[in-house]
């Protein structure tokens, strides 16, 4: 990159490939080579850019010139005209001003961003979130103005329905249908709620979205307010997100000053206010009915549905709840059209999805990809592969409610149905890459510890069932597993899935059941062979000092039970009976002379 002057982004989405983008790529490379520009120009393949009808798409940066319907023959012309002569190839230029993909213009970081498609995060990392002017300059609040000028509430709902957008909080319920239900529920008052109670450990999509572009959420909510006949919006956000709260407050204040919230928005008849309510540290409050109880000032415990919040929600009134990411899609859908939106993604899952990629992957961070992108693309192309040179073992999607998928499922597409079909879920978008150094029983235990701790305690299967499951998992990792334990886990797990009151309990067993399904051997190793191949479960390990030992004595000094003996500069040994398997010697040894197995 150092000497690069131009980056050519070539859309590598399915539609463009179909229309011959790969041959365009060859032709571009050929032309670049011909002019000896290999050092100055970099070709980058991107994920679907959402301009399928005009594909193949070639974008030249800097300048963000979009060329459409590029053929093999056009390639040389682009190189010669644009790159060498500095003139646009006018007949190919596509004049499309979509809200997304601006980051190409700003970031040079195409390895990471190239395969992504940023719709919900379109402004994140681009604008100053505390300056409403930045948002306004990028067509901010134009969607709201458009709705107020040109569309009836029904038109708005129809547009959202056309887009095929589904709830990004995990459930995947069609957003337009939800709006429709709420709009048609009897009642004089209605509420619009933004669920920003993001609680998955390791997921921070919503926080980033609010911190990076708070006005988008407000605009989306106001549009919904207009569509369903509500004048009151509430953002329910975790108290643990002080900066996001501050930026939201500022955004609400600025929007109100600019008559983009409040009474008679932009001179119209429509009035809409937004209030912030804080959570207080309860994961279960992400569940709609629990969230409602929390806003009402009560313990955030779910209640049986029906009645659904769209009919009987906050303070007993029809209530529309969508999560942050869902809201962020709304202005785009209004401005670029539901039809366009629905062209992105798969048959049943439209648009993009944001994932918080973490764990043993090189590029940890937030990625937004079109639905239908494979897990492999995310882990290797965007995530840059496994950190530290270990071997890929599993990918955990959907946070503590999700499942662990082994390598053979890496070509699974991310969409609601495909992930569910292989035993995981989309969830809110947590994605943890696990390598061979992690023990799957321990991973399952980690997630279950979380859900068990976050169980509200209302229903028996979740309160008592997850506790017993955790006990069984704990004893397996301690080497005290018994024959029949796996079956017990399966029995309790399926019972809790089918019988729990809310989504938390219904999905809590997923990490356990999916690891049993995909990594049963590891469980059996723990129980029957008393072995933890990943070397994680301390009680199952044996520490041994091998020939590499130089006799420095460091291990001896840290051993809390004096289990290590040996004379200076001589091979030391560990008394296995005295060893409590704390691992301190292993961590201390600088010569890799201690093994654990």
């Amino acid at each position: 990159m150092p000497n690069t002057e131009y980056i050519i982004t070539l859309c590598d989405g399915p539609s463009c490939i179909h229309k011959g983008s790969r041959t365009v790529k060859d032709a571009l490379e050929e032309a670049i080579a011909k002019h000896n520009m290999q050092d100055k120009v970099k070709i980058h393949l991107s994920g679907c850019l959402g301009m399928c009808s005009k594909g193949p798409i070639v974008i030249v940066n800097p300048g963000y010139t979009i060329y459409g319907s590029v053929t093999e023959a056009d390639a040389a012309e682009i190189i010669e005209q644009h790159l060498i002569n500095g003139k646009y190839v006018t007949r190919l230029v596509v004049d499309e001003d979509h809200l997304y993909n601006r980051f190409f213009r700003i970031f040079g970081d195409n390895d990471f961003f190239g395969k992504q498609m940023r719709i919900t995060l379109r402004n994140c990392g681009i604008i100053d979130p505390e300056n409403i002017d930045d948002y306004l300059s990028l067509r901010g609040y134009e969607a709201l103005a458009k709705v107020l000028t040109e569309l009836t509430p029904k038109d708005v709902i129809d547009e959202v329905k056309t887009s095929g957008l589904r709830g990004r909080g995990g459930g995947g319920f069609p957003t337009g249908v939800k709006w429709d239900f709420t709009a048609n529920a009897p009642g004089d008052e209605r509420y619009v709620i933004c669920n920003a109670d993001e609680g998955d450990p390791g997921a921070f999509m919503d926080r980033s979205a609010i911190e990076g572009d708070p006005h988008t959420i407000l605009e989306g909510m106001a549009i919904a307010g207009y569509a369903i006949g509500s004048t009151k919006g509430i953002v329910y956000i975790r108290a643990e997100y002080p900066l996001a709260i501050k930026r939201l407050e500022k955004a609400i204040e600025d929007a109100s000053k600019n008559n983009l919230l409040g009474d008679n928005i932009l001179g119209s008849e429509f009035s809409f206010d937004i209030e912030i309510r804080l959570g207080a540290g309860a994961f279960v409050c992400g569940e709609e009915t629990a969230l409602i109880h929390s806003i009402e000032g009560s313990r955030g415990m779910p209640r049986p549905r029906p009645p659904y919040p769209s009919v009987k929600g906050l303070f007993g009134k029809p209530t529309l709840i969508n999560n942050v990411e869902t809201w962020a899609n709304i202005p785009v859908i209004i401005l670029d059209g539901g039809k366009w939106f629905s062209s992105i993604g798969t048959e049943t899952s439209k648009g993009t999805k944001v994932f918080a990629v973490a764990g043993m992957v090189k590029n940890t961070g937030l990625v937004e990809v079109p639905m239908g992108t494979t897990l492999r693309n995310i882990v290797y192309d965007i995530g840059g592969g496994i950190e530290g040179g270990g071997k890929f073992k599993a990918i955990q999607t959907g946070g503590p409610s999700g499942g662990c998928l082994p390598e053979e499922y890496l070509d699974t597409k991310v969409d609601y149905e495909s992930l569910a079909a292989v035993g995981s879920i989309m969830g809110s978008g947590g994605m943890i890459v696990i390598d061979e150094h992690s023990c799957m029983v321990d991973v399952a235990k980690f997630f279950l510890e979380f859900t068990q701790d976050e169980s509200c305690g209302k229903c028996t299967p979740c309160r008592e069932g997850t506790k017993r499951m955790l006990e069984i998992l704990t004893r397996i990792t301690q080497g005290k597993g018994k024959p029949g334990d796996i079956e017990k886990l399966e029995r309790l797990g399926t019972m809790a899935q089918r019988s729990s009151l809310c989504g938390l309990g219904q999905s809590a067993p997923n990490p356990v059941l999916s690891t049993i399904k995909n990594f049963r051997q590891e469980y059996e190793d723990h129980i029957f062979n008393k072995k933890c191949v990943a070397g994680v479960c301390g009680a199952l390990l044996t520490y041994t000092i091998i020939e590499k030992c130089v006799g420095c004595g460091a291990c001896k000094r840290v051993c809390p039970t004096n289990a290590i003996s040996g004379t200076r500069k001589q091979l030391h040994t560990i008394d296995q009976d005295a060893c409590i398997k704390c691992g301190q010697c292993y961590d201390t040894c600088k010569f890799e002379a201690i093994t654990k197995a």
Binding site: A239, A280, E296, A358
Partner: protein, 164 residues
């Protein structure tokens, strides 16, 4: 001391009064409890009584809410709050060891306050700093890429500062 407390109570009452003109005033309970914790560092029982009276909410209900949400402290906290992030990213990168080391060094379990009232040890879900995992937060400041050793050194620094 007492005067300061009265001042805080007055501020709290003002805050509550402002919420009571809204629709569904009782729904502001959690916001009010946040305010109490902001003023007092935890939720003192007698202050919850004040809230109950001012908001006309039974104390049992307030207690149910206060104990449900992990964000609320029911006991006085130490001078510094040490939150160990146990989010997935941190866990995968060794937060467990950091936590163990801190427990040992401070001499408390999670949720407890050290005898010298200097530190309260807490577990956090995700501090949003996954990139520099594992992290801990001491009061408002985040420290990343820690090991058990570097974490204890941090604590020692704070201890020294408190004495100095």
């Amino acid at each position: 001391m007492i005067e300061m407390k009265d001042q805080k109570i007055d501020e709290l009452k003002e805050y509550i009064a402002a919420t009571q003109s809204n629709d569904n005033p009782e729904s502001y309970l959690i916001a009010v409890l946040h305010k109490v914790q902001g003023l007092f560092g935890y939720l003192p029982r007698e202050v919850m009584d004040v809230v109950a009276k001012a908001m006309n909410i039974p104390t049992a209900h307030i207690w149910g809410v206060a104990t449900f949400y992990h964000y609320f402290n029911l006991k006085p906290v130490g001078k510094h709050i040490v939150s160990v992030c146990m989010g997935t990213a941190c866990y995968v990168r060794g937060a467990g060891k950091v936590l163990e080391a801190l427990k040992k060094n401070i001499g408390v379990e999670i949720g407890e306050t050290s005898e010298d009232k200097l530190f309260t040890l807490q577990e956090a879900r995700c501090l949003g700093a996954c990139g520099i995992a594992p992290v801990i937060m001491i009061d408002d400041k985040i420290y990343g890429e820690l090991t058990g050793k570097t974490a204890t050194e941090l604590i020692k620094k704070y201890r020294k500062a408190a004495k100095g």
